[in-house]
Symmetry: C3
Subunit: 451 residues, 3 copies
């Protein structure tokens, strides 16, 4: 029972024009944060935090209070016995039914915000769902870049540190590609951007990574295999690979990420993690670069450079308030972005046959299996590829069937094109397909000869 309310589950739920509209409002709000206390008077947001995240919660609550709205706080939904085994779908129907006019949800399971948005009668904002999405952080990062550089298109952004496990970076890099920024990847060795993110960058935004010459980046890149991504084709690789190398004034923003220390097998690797200090910032290429960080930082940015005017991470954090003010006021219908809604959400199809095909054990479709109808969305039709409708992980499929004909095919069979999307069934292997009463398609005779 999807609702008509606009939500922010993924940064993809907003069009570029809408984001630019939010940036303009955020800048207006930041002129005097204290002057907008009539904007959402009489309205209430509820912070439903199934895992604690004080910083994110306070930023949302500050935004709502600055708009003159009220705030309901449930900071520890999971640890309290308050839920009494209630499903998330029921909880958001209750809280969204009269209690609050908007729900800010933080949850440990990927896809939780998507599920909530399907049941809540009010807008749902994803404040982090497991390792999946944290769209308002991305919105804040984009807004900061837009404020600092006046635009995002064509801006050169260096992403440094742990690019593998940082949810923040995955959302940010896709959004940068969507806006047409140039992206330089300087990963901590062994912590490169995962293949599925690169695949998405290639498929959706047409960008390809190319090895880059990072000699002008100094110690920042000394151990890394630096890659460069640009949305234009042909790639403007001359910027990096011509004999003159990377120009001194080329880095507009340096985005640092913290080491996910719990991921390191040995302390040695952590010890070699990049530490940005006065020396690293002294290279010519970073002369005009602003230094960004989603915070909290640990040692990857030395307090030596806190007073450096290029260090804007505390400003970036502070901008989380006006950009969230803009988002909340927009979702609550109190401001107009002046643009038509033009984002088409991926259509979700219910899984018709067999068990939940999502392979992710912490997906909400698994952690609340009793209450959730598994869904999928189509990522590609030839060969057919599908993602879980909640957590977006790819559904592994050795064979694909049709729920009406009860035939199954190999994923690259042209016969699949004729199957209606809502009739698609995904099988891990032939045994599973046959156990569910499916037969190999007769036109695929070549396969049936296998013993």
């Amino acid at each position: 029972m999807p609702t008509a309310a606009r939500n922010l589950v993924s940064i993809d739920d907003l069009s570029l024009a809408e984001m630019r509209g939010l940036f303009h409002w955020a800048r207006k709000f930041s002129g005097d944060l204290r002057a907008w206390s009539d904007t959402c008077r009489g309205l209430i947001s509820a912070s439903l935090f199934y895992e604690p995240s004080t910083r994110t919660r306070l930023s949302f609550e500050s935004a709502m209070l600055r708009l003159g709205g009220g705030v309901l706080t449930a900071a520890e939904m999971a640890s309290s016995s308050a839920t009494k085994g209630e499903s998330l779908a029921d909880t958001v129907r209750v809280v969204g039914g009269g209690y609050a006019d908007l729900i800010v949800l933080r949850h440990a399971s990927e896809g939780a915000a998507r599920l909530a948005s399907m049941y809540a009668p009010v807008p749902v904002v994803n404040a982090g769902d497991g390792s999946h999405e944290h769209p308002t952080q991305t919105l804040c990062d984009l807004y900061t870049l837009w404020i600092e550089r006046g635009r995002i298109e064509g801006v050169n952004v260096v992403l440094s540190g742990d690019l593998r496990y940082s949810r923040t970076v995955h959302s940010f890099v896709c959004a940068l590609a969507r806006f047409g920024a140039n992206i330089v990847l300087v990963p901590h060795p062994g912590f490169e951007l995962p293949p599925y993110v690169l695949q998405r960058l290639r498929e959706e935004f047409g960008v390809e990574p190319v090895r880059a010459d990072a000699s002008r980046l100094g110690d920042l890149a000394k151990e890394s295999d630096v890659a460069y991504l640009t949305p234009q084709k042909p790639h403007q690789l001359s910027l990096f690979t011509d004999t003159k190398g990377l120009r001194v004034d080329r880095v507009d923003a340096l985005y640092m990420t913290r080491p996910q220390t719990e991921r390191y097998r040995d302390d040695e690797a952590a010890a070699r993690y990049v530490q940005l200090g006065r020396e690293e910032m002294s290279v010519e290429s970073l002369r005009d670069a602003v230094v960004m960080h989603p915070l909290p930082r640990r040692d990857e940015i030395s307090s030596d450079i806190d007073s450096d005017p290029r260090s804007i991470y505390f400003k970036q954090s502070a901008r989380g308030v006006p950009i969230r003010m803009a988002l909340l006021a927009f979702l609550l219908g109190r401001i107009d972005l002046g643009v038509e809604a033009d984002v088409v959400e991926s259509r979700l199809y219910e899984v018709q046959v067999g068990d939940n095909p999502c392979p992710n054990p912490t997906c909400i479709s698994r952690t609340e299996a009793r209450h959730v109808t598994p869904t999928f969305k189509l990522a590609a039709r030839m060969p057919v590829r599908a993602h879980c409708g909640y957590c977006s992980q790819e559904i592994p499929a050795s064979f694909v069937g049709c729920s009406t004909s009860r035939n199954f095919h190999e994923p690259d069979s042209s016969a699949i094109r004729k199957i209606r999307p809502d009739h698609l069934v995904f099988f891990q292997d032939e045994v599973q397909a046959r156990a569910l009463g499916f037969e190999r398609a007769t036109r695929a005779q070549r396969s049936t000869t296998t013993p």
Copy 2:
């Protein structure tokens, strides 16, 4: 030191006329929940929750915010060391002294809200005291019935599921009887309404349970001993016991309760717990019945019927906000119900002699024994019966004495009538009476002859 402020410790603290006045205000508020933010401007409610109950807390806090008031939250009073061994009486005197204008109290000990109401300089609302009372849930249930059916008098309400351990049902059934509703009990086998509730229904509201023909209720009642209670005398049992049986259009509301799963000795009993789904709802008798549930539900209501227009449990939950708005605004003196206060609270008497006679180990008079003066109220004079002034449990008394004459009597002795209520002393047995220096009354010579 009782205070003059009106409180809501028990649903009995409100007269029928006052409740109807609250219903009218709640309906007015629900026209646009966002339009009342000046009603309690400048006022503050404090949520003192000694055990977590996020749903109840958020409902109260939403109501206060919608009225334009402020909210102080202490969501985990018990687990925090904040109280530093302070008595509840002191805590509510502090919080009610300038911090807040009204206290919403949730506590694990029965009678806690009564105690708080005796010391707080501001109104106290009971948001649940152990297994004792949860009056605003009852108010919300009655309001929902009133909205859905236009009245409560004469409405046919089926109560189904665990009627034994559900605090909610105990309060609701008494309030229904008080309003003159017809009540059909369809308990899960082994989980019938407890005798003391039936006794109260009989003594206070003159209703008697009679076995009913529930053949028209379908699977809902297949295993249950269905009983029918009606406030009118003679009982309108013809409705159920005549040969035509229960009329198809007779059930106005079906109130489901969840299984208190921790109470079941075996999983089998829990597995047979009623599950309301499409099939159960298809019987003719339920054609116009609204389905109510205090939530959270587990499996006793299938999500199959969530979109059935008769399923109003989420609406019921949402109505918790306007009815609590009405209650808070009333207790804070910001709205007028247009009726005279006509409820006489049971008078409480201090226990003069001996230990606290309350038999309930989780009563606030026992859990805070150092700080609480035991009290009792009289339930009946012949034979004399008394209840704990806090938790309402009956005080076991084999003998009853007079604190001035130091004589004691059997509970049905006519001599007791002459004892002033505040001089009554309750003894578990003769040994206890004699140990406290009491003598058997001389006029009861027939008893003294026993060896």
Copy 3:
């Protein structure tokens, strides 16, 4: 990077004139607490509580709500994983950067509020830093005395109970001395005021304790060595030591403290702790004395005297709201005290050489050693004595050096006078000094002859 914003880290941060200004505003606010909801409209305070203290938190939050401001609450910063190892300096920069306009900080480490005030871009109010300071409790106590007696100068205040471990009493007694009150110390035996507090009273306010005749204080003082402190010289000891003894009408206020039961080695000592009841209050000297207590109380004040008009501890607690309203409105620039700021904060010097010399293991400079620059302030120049710039504990120094000359001296050497304060280095012993490359000063030849 100190900021210009006014803070309240220590009661010493306010001048006497400013405190009197706050008292006048608090009295004005208390006329009708509900009438000031426009004073701080649009502003937000954040409660950052690294240890729970519900009472203190609610008092601050009530004050902010009464002023019409918004409140952000982080009630359990320490137990949540929310901080993710972030330094306190970073946290207050984030929260003070757009989220909130003022920070109320509670922390287990002494000096935490001082550190926070050095980094936060908004005012910081200390709501308790370990066993160090809790200035708003002191402000509330002084305000209560001012309201009850019309003045503080010359008022006779008895401090009774545990004067050794009570942080509250240490701040209060110094503030009383500063205001020129007469102080009578009636400690529980073994729990006398610590020497360093007496030293401060002597050095900063010129008061000396003298044994007093407490025969008129009845059982309250039966076991105690009563001392009398008065700011005037010569001491007005005649009040207590003349043959007529303590005059009946002389005690204006009796300030009780609770036993810090965790400090008692045996239950016997706790059992003998003073219990103030009807009998104790019946002595003539207390006829007009108001009874104060910072609450929560345990058994040191019997509930027998709760209804005694002299028992004002609940009124005292209630006054925490208007005095905190005055403080918040002042720090947020929304009211004018009509006085010039005339408090000179002690200058802090960074430790230039060697490790952090602070001896307090729970000082914020030790618990967050990675993020904190050790500092000291000078308490005296001859002999030189220094205190930790955070927790105020005295730095133990057997020798004192100069960071430029690399010489060291004994603390009472006249040569120290010529060293610039920011060049001072404190050594625990000679070994430490030499290990850091310092040489004994050549002019102190007599010392070098020791083998």
